[in-house]
Symmetry: C2
Subunit: 104 residues, 2 copies
Amino acid sequence: MDAIDPELLRGSLDLMVLSTLSSGKKYGYLIQSTLWQSSREAIELKAGTLYPILHKLEKEGLVKCHWEDDTGRRRKWYELTAVGRKQLKRRTDEWCRYVDCLRC
Amino acid sequence: MDAIDPELLRGSLDLMVLSTLSSGKKYGYLIQSTLWQSSREAIELKAGTLYPILHKLEKEGLVKCHWEDDTGRRRKWYELTAVGRKQLKRRTDEWCRYVDCLRC
DNA sequence: TGGCAATATGTTGCCTGGCGATACATTGTG
DNA sequence: CACAATGTATCGCCAGGCAACATATTGCCA
């Protein structure tokens, strides 16, 4: 499976991250690998892109996070807040409307 | 119909313009109004965004253009080249793959 | 007739956002 | 023991979107 031109993803990166979190809490690196695998290696979200997004989403109150150290691995787990879940729905609907317009 | 957050369109603007031209040659202002109407006023492509895109697509050889003055209105008509049509197909496929990944 | 909206195309310059590069700590592997 | 992988983070460059502005013509209404 060929990689999807990262250019095409601009504008929907926030949505992509929120969407990934809808199936349960995840830490950054896991979000990356989830996307990579579930897209069959077509979507590679870079660290320099992901972490600033997560920090922004946290600041906006769409996600909350907490550190965990259980495995020795220092991990920062993120999960959707109630507001985040609402936003995800709103943005997903908007996205669908847009897809309809471009009529795939 | 609410407007679609312009932020969401970033990255697929080129595709949107190419796509609009697939149904026949158009001039800039007509591309704008076509998008505006066919999206039921959800997508408003600004002049400051559109014209630079058209110039870029022309430079890349994806569209060709010619001036016409028939109605007194000075219009620059754009149409897809063979290369442009191929690119449109390639990018549309890529877009569809992406939509599958985000699973609307 | 005079003025304003709509039609039509274009450029300049600001600001944001993506991401390559880099940094750093720990764990797993050959 | 070195190197890959895991894990999080920031800095700074560059490209892209678009508000604002410039300019010309046509159509409409008072």
